[in-house]
Each structure stands twice: as structure tokens, then as C-alpha cells.
């Protein structure tokens, strides 16, 4: 860990003539009698992306961002300012703006900074440099060629390959000094297929916190390509989806976006502290069927939603949200944990140094049950089997949520029959999970594509679940 601190200091502080010991001066100007806590978040972010379209690698881009966010907390109040220059005068100016949230008083001091222990869940590699530019381009071309050769109905292939390295250094007035070096990579494939004047698209992709070399090892790029083509061709055959309330079977993996919307957001500490979540005050009460256990786990090695430490320096961990149907836990950052007299759970996250941290999900998934997926399908007389989704949305106050299927099938007499067009599913969080009647033994996590938006801030997340049978849910088709 101290290696990470040194790396982060070299990247973030040294160029501006700063060292960790100078941060005491910033804290001295931040802290005062009315300030409960303060933190500094230094970040350097470098990204690269390549895009292939129309059979040629037509665009590439590179970007660098860096800066420091300065936050002062007083009760429930947060003062925040940031600077894209990491030098002492800019830091002191930002500190002055941030501490204006509380009335001025005598300067105080934070606790002496000490390196917080943590374990690294991913290697501190710069993923952009894990593969030569020639090799990156070769991958894009290979995916394109594979998709076009797979079926003559494939008319357009868009492939993108992106890699980012975030280096962060976090200093908090509670004495936390922590650093993290966070690689994140992603490959995306979109295919447009055309037949008899009808056009449909299919997409696939994935990634995580490792190098591009690891992402592309083992033929994973080709699997994404095959999946995108398959999904586009299935959609070419799709008939209108049914409309109304029916039994829904959700496939394993990415359909876990259900959990993210139906309960995840409603279990975030800020909404529970403010009493604005439909789940506020329900700890210990039944919110789902017996057998349903849902966790948020930021400590899974290499996953897209994982972090060795959150953006407040708290080591991530596994938090049980629902155990055997009963609400057990809430996801917390330091501010909401302090105000709710709870412990931080490693869920304090922010989009960047220019944004305030808040409680956010990491990897949210349901533990497996006992049923064979085939047995679950066979149990349904008439219903919908949805295996892939676009995004979702929730109103945390009344608990209503939607998520939109992008690949789905009719189930008739226990068998999967025809593919149907995408449709939005809608329900109420606390009710839908009570209607889970069968849980599969096939837990799968998603491939690493999730982006969660909250209050205008985007962060990478993961979801997962086994095959699930929900006895009744509203399906928004037209037929």
C-alpha cells in the first residue's frame, strides 16, 4: 500500500512542488470549531479510446484530466470546491471556499495522517500501455471481420476499445491517508443486421479492472462479437411483445439490473437518512420472498464495480442488503454513516475530483438458489423470458422502477417459443421481490458494462443474479 502512496504522490503532488506533509497546512486552514470533517481528493486520469466503423479504424482519442476536490463538512452541510491545478495556493483557495459553509472560527487541525491499510484488488498497471497501438487496431479489425463473416445479414459493425487509468490520493481529517491506482478497460461491439427491409441491432461487450492484455486473452473479444451478431439476428425474427401482467423469468447475469433498480438505490444511506426512500425505516422487515439474499460487494477482484478503497479511503467490503427476504443493511459513505450512527461500508464514491462523494453501489447481486434454470422455464405456463436488458430507472420515493428488455422470448407451456421485441418492465421494488418464487443455481455476474447515474454523476458498477422466476410483473409490449 505504501508503494501506491508513493506512486500517487509522484503523479499528483510532486509536479506541483507538494508533498504529503504539506497537506497538514491545508487541513489547518480547512478545519475549525464548526467543521466536523474535511477531505482532499487528488486525481489524475488518463484515457484512450479507439473506434472502428464501416470496416475502418476511423477515430481515436486521448484525454488527460487532473485536479483536487476539497470538501468541508459541518453537520449535514458540505462545502465543496475544486481546482484543476494541484499547487498550494490553489489548494488553500479551494479550502477557503469549501470551509465558508460553516461560520469562520479559529483554525483547528485534523488528526495526523496515517497510511490506511488496504488490500489491492487489481494490479496498478496502466492499461493503455499493456498493448501496442498496432495490437489494439488488430483486435478491432479481427472483431469486425468475424462479425461480417458470421452472417451476410450483418450490415454495420461498430467496435470500440477503451482504457482508463485513475490515480487517486485521499487525505481525510480523521487521519486517513490512502491511495489507489485503478485501471479500467472495456470492449464494445454493436452490430446492425438487415433482412427484407427490416433492421435490428445487437450489442455486447465487457471489461473490468485489469489491462487490455487480460481483457483480450482467451478469445473474449470473439465471444463478444459472436454474442452481438447472435442478438441482432434474434431481434430480426422478433414479434411484438405482449402487454399486461404475467409471469416473468429473468436470465442470469446482467438482468440483475433488476436488483440495482428495485432495491439497490433505495438502500443507499443518503435516501435512508433523509427518509426519502420507500425502504427507509424498514431494517429488519421483510422486503423480498424467503430465500432472496442480495449483497453489494466492492471487494471482488478485478470487477468493473470493484474498488480496493472507496473514494473516501474506506476499504470496500461485502454488505448484506437483504438476507432470506429481510432488509439487513444500508450502503454508507462517511457523512451518512456519521449522521446515522452507523459504520461506513466502503460505498462512498464520486465521478471525479470535481464531484461530491455520496453512497453508491459497487457490485450488487443475488446469491444462488437451488433450482435448475431449465426447471424454472418448464414451470411457466405462459410468460416472458427476458435475457438481456438496456438500462433501468427508479423513483426511490414510491419505489416504482422500470428496466427495458433488449432480448426476450415468449414462454408457452413450459417451453421457450418465439423471440419478442424489446419492452419495458415496470413494478414496485418492495412488491416485485416478494413475488420471486424460484431462484436458479446459476449465479452469474455481468460482463462488465454497467454505468450508474445518480444526481448527474456516473460511476462504473456491476450487477449479477441467477435465473429468477417472478410470479407477476407488468410487461409493456403492444400485443
Amino acid at each position: 500500500m505504501s508503494d501506491l502512496i508513493r506512486t500517487a504522490e509522484r503523479q499528483l503532488l510532486t509536479p506541483g512542488g507538494l508533498a504529503t506533509r504539506d497537506l497538514d497546512r491545508v487541513f489547518a486552514s480547512l478545519m475549525g470549531p464548526a467543521i466536523d470533517a474535511a477531505d482532499l481528493y487528488f486525481q489524475h486520469s488518463r484515457s484512450e479510446a479507439w473506434v472502428l466503423e464501416d470496416g475502418i479504424v476511423k477515430d481515436g482519442s486521448h484525454s488527460i484530466e487532473q485536479g483536487v476536490g476539497v470538501r468541508a463538512l459541518s453537520g449535514e452541510k458540505a462545502g465543496f470546491a475544486y481546482s484543476d491545478e494541484i499547487v498550494l495556493p490553489a489548494l488553500l483557495e479551494a479550502a477557503g471556499a469549501a470551509r465558508a459553509i460553516a461560520h469562520a472560527g479559529a483554525n483547528g487541525v485534523g488528526k495526523p495522517l496515517a497510511i490506511a491499510p488496504a488490500r489491492a484488488l487489481y494490479p496498478p498497471v496502466d492499461p493503455i500501455d499493456t498493448l501496442s497501438n498496432e495490437a489494439k487496431i488488430a483486435v478491432l479489425r479481427e472483431v469486425d471481420a468475424y462479425c461480417r463473416a458470421a452472417d451476410p445479414r450483418v450490415q454495420q459493425v461498430i467496435v470500440s476499445l477503451a482504457a482508463t487509468l485513475d490515480t487517486v490520493l485521499i487525505a481525510h481529517s480523521d487521519g486517513t491517508l490512502a491511495a489507489d491506482v485503478r485501471p479500467l478497460v472495456r470492449l464494445n461491439v454493436q452490430v446492425i443486421a438487415e433482412a427484407d427491409g427490416r433492421r435490428e441491432s445487437g450489442s455486447s461487450g465487457g471489461g473490468g479492472r485489469y489491462g487490455l492484455d487480460e481483457l483480450l486473452a482467451g478469445g473474449r473479444a470473439r465471444e463478444f462479437a459472436r454474442e452481438a451478431v447472435r442478438s441482432a439476428l434474434v431481434n430480426l425474427e422478433a414479434v411484438p411483445a405482449p402487454a399486461g401482467t404475467m409471469t416473468v423469468v429473468l436470465g442470469p447475469g446482467w438482468p440483475g439490473v433488476l436488483l440495482h433498480e428495485a432495491i439497490g438505490h433505495g438502500f443507499e444511506g443518503d435516501f435512508n437518512r433523509k427518509g426519502t426512500s420507500a425502504f427507509a425505516g424498514m431494517l429488519g422487515e421483510a422486503v423480498a420472498a424467503r430465500g432472496v439474499t442480495v449483497v453489494d460487494d466492492g471487494a471482488l477482484p478485478g470487477r468493473r464495480g470493484s474498488l480496493s478503497i472507496d473514494d473516501e479511503g474506506t476499504p470496500t467490503r461485502r454488505t448484506v442488503l437483504v438476507e432470506d427476504g429481510v432488509m439487513k443493511g444500508v450502503m454508507q459513505d462517511k457523512l451518512n454513516a456519521r449522521l446515522m450512527r452507523a459504520q461506513p461500508t466502503g460505498n462512498g464514491r464520486r465521478e471525479s475530483f470535481a464531484h461530491l462523494p455520496m453512497p453508491r453501489m459497487t457490485n450488487t447481486y443475488m446469491l444462488p438458489g437451488a433450482h435448475d434454470p431449465g426447471e424454472i422455464i418448464a414451470s411457466v405456463g405462459r410468460g416472458l423470458y427476458a435475457v438481456n436488458f438496456g438500462g433501468g430507472q427508479v423513483d426511490i420515493t414510491n419505489g416504482k422502477f422500470t428496466f427495458s428488455a433488449s432480448e426476450a422470448y415468449l414462454i408457452e407451456n413450459g417451453r421457450i417459443t418465439r423471440p419478442v421485441k424489446g419492452a419495458t418492465l415496470i413494478g414496485a421494488g418492495a412488491e416485485v421481490l416478494k413475488r420471486v418464487s424460484m431462484i436458479g443455481n446459476d449465479l452469474k455476474l455481468d460482463e462488465g458494462v454497467g454505468v450508474c447515474g445518480k444526481d448527474g454523476q456516473s460511476v462504473p458498477v456491476g450487477v449479477g443474479q441467477p435465473t429468477l422466476r417472478i410470479d407477476s410483473m407488468t410487461v409493456g409490449g403492444t400485443a
Binding site: 486521448h62 452541510k77 402487454a243 438500462g391 422500470t402 415496470i426
Partner: protein, 451 residues
Amino acid sequence: MNLSVDDKDTSLADLDRLAQIAQDVVARARRSGASAADAAASIDTGLAVGVRLGEVETVERTRDRAVSVTVYFGQRKGSATTADLDPASIGQTVEHACAIARHTEPDPANGLADPALLASTIPDLDLWHPWDLTPAQAIALGVEIEAAGRAQDARISNSDGASVQSGGSLTAYANSDGFIGCERATHHSVSVALIAEDDAGMQRDYWYDSVRRAADFASPSSIGIKAAQRTLARLGAQRLSTRQCPVLFAPEAARSLIGHFLSAASGGALYRRASFLVDQLGQRLFPPWLQLVERPHIPRGLGSTAFDAEGVATRDSDLVRDGVLARYILGSYSARKLGLQSTGNAGGVQNIVLEPGADDLPALLRRMGSGLLVTELMGQGVSLITGDYSRGASGFWVEQGELAYPVEEITIAGNLRDMYANLVAVGSDVDPRSHILTGSLLLERMTIAGE
């Protein structure tokens, strides 16, 4: 360099410096061997304050800077951005872009905009109105808005808070054909979200305003009261049975229907053949009474701009004339891909105006008779490639032209092509808080999925 809304206004001097940076970047790219290049430099600054239950919750000072460069080596392209305006970092950024262009492949559609289309004069669109707002004043305003809403009814039990934001952005764009253009614009907004509770549970709704000039805001109390009324009206919401019926989109929801049309008519979706509007130029898509016009030069308009992201002059122009698709929405790249000319839409559309009808909302409700009034939409569920549409909705069931009861947890579905063709009327109740200016939209029929 610092643009501040409560210090002396240095925006003109800052714009000069941004223009210098953009031109320097272009010159540096040319020296590095690029046959053509363009660059944009920008600074956005602002103040954002959040209050909740009468107390300040957050005070945020923002300042974002960016320089972006695109280089062309013949028909090969590379781009890079940095947030660091230091000359050494800018130099590295140009080199990053050039390094990328060594690996990309020639694309005949690549290149700068046609010089003949570039803006030669830059009209003043009255977009710069700094708001002399201290954090204390912003907090007081947020408290006033929230308090007006909370005082409306005892059933307003909680609040998600009010926010007050003020910001300004300065942008300079230069290209190697000698174009240089600068624009400065302010944008201010206020919003409040309230929570009401009864035996059936909690409901939340919100209201906001969004302007270029603070004097144009609706009164603080009217915004709070509107949020409270909307929130209270949702209490006791029911579901509907699955059915087909007419649907009236209130202006704040109707906007998204126009937005889907704009996305599907945009060059990027068209040349990829990822739009249901492929090969539809000159076709009748809407009823003959419908007129949709782009008007980029509305004074203080939220989407107003004198030139697009490539320096192309913007001008008033029809998108839909008498129900017929008059043109696509194109920047230079997508225009070349389609064998057409740029429509001044690199970076997106400006102000889009759907010519209002004669009926206000009550008149449209009477005209609908029985049906669904949609005030909020949820989720994605729109496929631009097929036009298939399926979204979560909430609003009101309407009987004999009157609101009967609030509804929630239903979906509405159809196909955008049919939905557009079967529009019955547009209202006179235009919502000014967006660059898409439309009144309510009445649709003949959609499928509602519910119980």
C-alpha cells in the same frame, strides 16, 4: 484565469485568451505535420447551492477548463483533450492526437467543414447575463422556494431539497482554414423536489426553471407551489388495466417525443442505418398541420448559437414542413457520408420550435375525452433503429375531459412512426424551459400495460 459571476466580469479578456490558445493549438498541429486541424478551448464556472428543510446542505464552486484538438493527416484523423491549459500540457495533447492519427485509417468523409459554410459574422444573441449571486443569496433563494412549497399542505411531509445554480461558459473554436469564433453564455437554474405522504405511501415530484438571465425566472414562490401541487396530485395513484386509449403528453413529457425524432433524423444514426428514418427525406411523417423549425438565433434562447461545433453558420430552417421531413440534422462528417451538405448541426441541434396549436391543456383534455394524461416518463425503452417505443409512465386518467385520478406503474407502448403519423393536436401551452419548445401533444392511441 478566472471567470467569476460575483467578481468583475473579465469574460471578454478571457475569451481573447481562449481564442489565442485555440489558434496556437491549430498552429502547433500544423507544425507537427497535420494537413488540417481544429481546436476548441473552454472555461465553465459556476456556483451551485443545495438546501433542504430550510438549511443549506451543499455549496459547490465549479470551474472546468478544457482544450480539445482534432488533427487530420490527409484523410486520417486523431483527437485529444486535456483539462490543463499549461503550454507544455497542450503541446503533449497535440502530440497525442498526432500519434493516434498515425494509426487510424483514411476515411474520405473526414475533414474540416466546407469553408463556404463558415460563419462570417457572429450576431449577438444576448446570451451573457452574469448573475451577481453570493452563496448567502443563493441559499436564501433556495430556502424561499422550498418553504413556499412546504407551506402548501400538511401532507407535504418531507423534502428532497431545492437547488440554485448559476454558471457561465466561454468557448473559442479555431480551425486551420482561418476560422476563429468565440461565444459566451450564462445559464441559471432553480429546482425543488418535495415529498407528500398519506396512508398509501410517499410520492415525490418536482418543478424547476431554467434561464439565460436571472430576471427571467418565474417567481420563487410559484416554483415551490407548482412542485407542491404536482406532488400532492400524485397521492392515491392507481394502476390501470391493460388497454388501448388516446394519450396526451403534457409539455414536459412531449419534449422527449420530439427529442426521439431529432435523434432519429441525425446524421450519425442515418449513415449507420441505425434509424427508422433512413431514406425518409421528403416523406410525410406527421399530419399536414405540423411544422417543426430550427431557430438558432432566438435572443436568450437556451439552445441559441451563432455557429456550430465546426464553425458552420447556423440559420433558421425547416425540419418538418406541412408534415413532410424537409431535411436531416447533419454535421460535415455525416453530411459527406450521406452525400449531402452540413446543416450547421455539428454538436447537435439549436432551438427547435414545434409551431403551437390553438388549444390550451384544458381544451386538449376535453378534446381527448377519456384517456391518459402523461406527466412523467421513466426508463429507456426506445429503439431508434425500429422506432419501437415502450416506457414507464405516470400521470392522470382523464374522463369526459376532466382529471379523474392519478395513475402510476403502467407502461405506454407503440411505434414512433405510427405515433408521429397519428398525432391529433399540439397545444398552445409551450414549455419554455428547454431548447425544444413544444406544447402538449395528443396522440390518437397507444397500448397501456397495467394490471
